[in-house]
Point group: C2
DNA sequence: CGCAAGATTGAAGTACGTCAATTCCAGTGG
DNA sequence: CCACTGGAATTGACGTACTTCAATCTTGCG
């Protein structure tokens, strides 16, 4: 069932049927979590790497003040604890933001896949490096922009990432976060997250309904956020001037099929 | 000459003489840069990975507003562009903060070292994962603490990292940054960086003289910063309750040999 | 000695935090 | 069908950490 991971990896390279099966076969079991539960706690020594099958999760740390800071959002197709193939101890936690199902892959099994010489190994390494690039971009986003631009940037990223695994329909995608959780990712308080969301909503660029965001004006959002999709290293977003998502001519990318 | 890298890797695993020679032999040339010069520009497609031999550098991005944000400091023993073994295009820049010498390693040569099955390959992968852990910690630092605590955290980290490669003498180490550059890493203005530094100086925890910092009270600094060295995954800082650097009893760690 | 870059200081503005009250809304039980 | 409930969203008022601008002072260095 790991459609999403395969779809994601396809951005980097073509996968053979046996590669797909190798991923499939590496999943030894599937576990479900409810919103708020820890999938993998800080200080733990997990023997298995998790693959997100459905739902959203977050990578976070808790400070001694009690504040929690989210470092990454994990959506279907993302791998959780890849580094524990070498690093033994979790230096942060993984928590479920919604009901979610995760596939468990033994660390040795993943190590065999990722360190093998071939398309699959390189594709998995690529995915890990992209995760790191995303982390760098979050750091810059946090350090260099103010809240409204920051939120715009986050939404642009999640939109493209969701799209890459086929989870965007009519410019809308599942977005199960409370405003407080948005704040924990942007480094702002829940109250200010609310005001920031209202700002973007008043501009007509986005709207929410229950657990779903809709991006009405991707262009405007991207420009406002100074969003350059290059860091996602998606096929077509960076190579030799073929701007797939950011186009200077008119037309809302958000409404593309 | 890559003493520093070898010393760093030794934290993770013992290296054989042939491993050391393999690293040594992989360096095809050495280049020097002056402060302010770009070692590797954003958008570039470098064929070589750089290894810091001497001096300090930074990993940074430039926003459209002109603001630059530093995502990492690179000191002797650090590798610069490891991800370009797979990611082709640099999505950020590497810039020299002081005069520095870097060794050039062809991306294919590094790939052979890092993807090989054995202690050296695992040690290099470990170093890459630690860099990522540092990045996560910076994100949390930026998002969750205010400037004085943030600066304290940064100084604690750089102190331990410098120490790990043998660059700390009597609680002092080379620190060639201007206050403006400190600000670019902490996400604050140069003016505020100045006031923040004065704060820590007034508390008697640190002092500067020309290009050198001295950490007078590592303990106090670490406590103030809520600094937990676990993320550095250094030998002895995390495993089975043997707190090497953070001890609850008295005595300045900063003055240890 | 003199210059330029960086460090320092002051004053005034702004983005965001905190606290606390109110409203909204989905789910639950009667 | 409705009243009840708890969590989340929203709003207002006020405090504060930081920014910006601009002046002055230090320091390294040719």
């Amino acid at each position: 069932m790991p459609h999403h991971l395969c779809k994601k990896l396809t951005q980097f390279t073509a996968l053979s049927e046996s590669d797909r099966r190798a991923i499939e076969d590496s999943i030894s079991s599937v576990t479900s979590f409810r919103a708020g539960e820890d999938i993998s706690p800080e200080g733990g020594r997990p023997t298995h790497v998790r693959m997100m099958l459905s739902g959203w999760a977050r990578r976070y740390k808790t400070l001694s003040t009690g504040h929690q800071h989210t470092m990454a959002f994990l959506i279907p197709g993302d791998l959780c604890d890849v580094h524990i193939t070498l690093l033994d101890v979790m230096d942060h936690s993984i928590g479920a933001l919604s009901t979610c199902r995760v596939g468990n892959i033994h660390r040795d099994a993943l190590a065999r896949l990722i360190y093998q010489d071939g398309p699959l190994g390189r594709a998995l390494s690529w995915a890990t490096l992209v995760d790191e690039a995303i982390l760098r971009e979050w750091l810059v986003n946090l350090g260099g922009r103010q809240s409204a631009n920051r939120l715009s940037h986050l939404l642009c990223e999640m939109y493209l990432r969701a799209k890459a695994v086929g989870l965007v329909t009519d410019a809308s995608f599942y977005f199960p976060l409370t405003q407080g959780e948005v704040g924990e990712a942007l480094g702002i308080s829940g109250v200010h997250a609310n005001r920031t969301i209202q700002d973007l909503r008043a501009r007509g660029w986005i709207s929410f309904s229950s657990d779903t965001v809709t991006i009405h004006e991707f262009q405007a959002l991207a420009k406002f956020a100074d969003f350059d999709p290059g860091y996602l290293h998606q096929r077509g977003t960076r190579e030799a001037g073929e701007p797939l998502h950011i186009v200077s001519s008119g037309g809302s990318v958000g409404t593309m099929a």
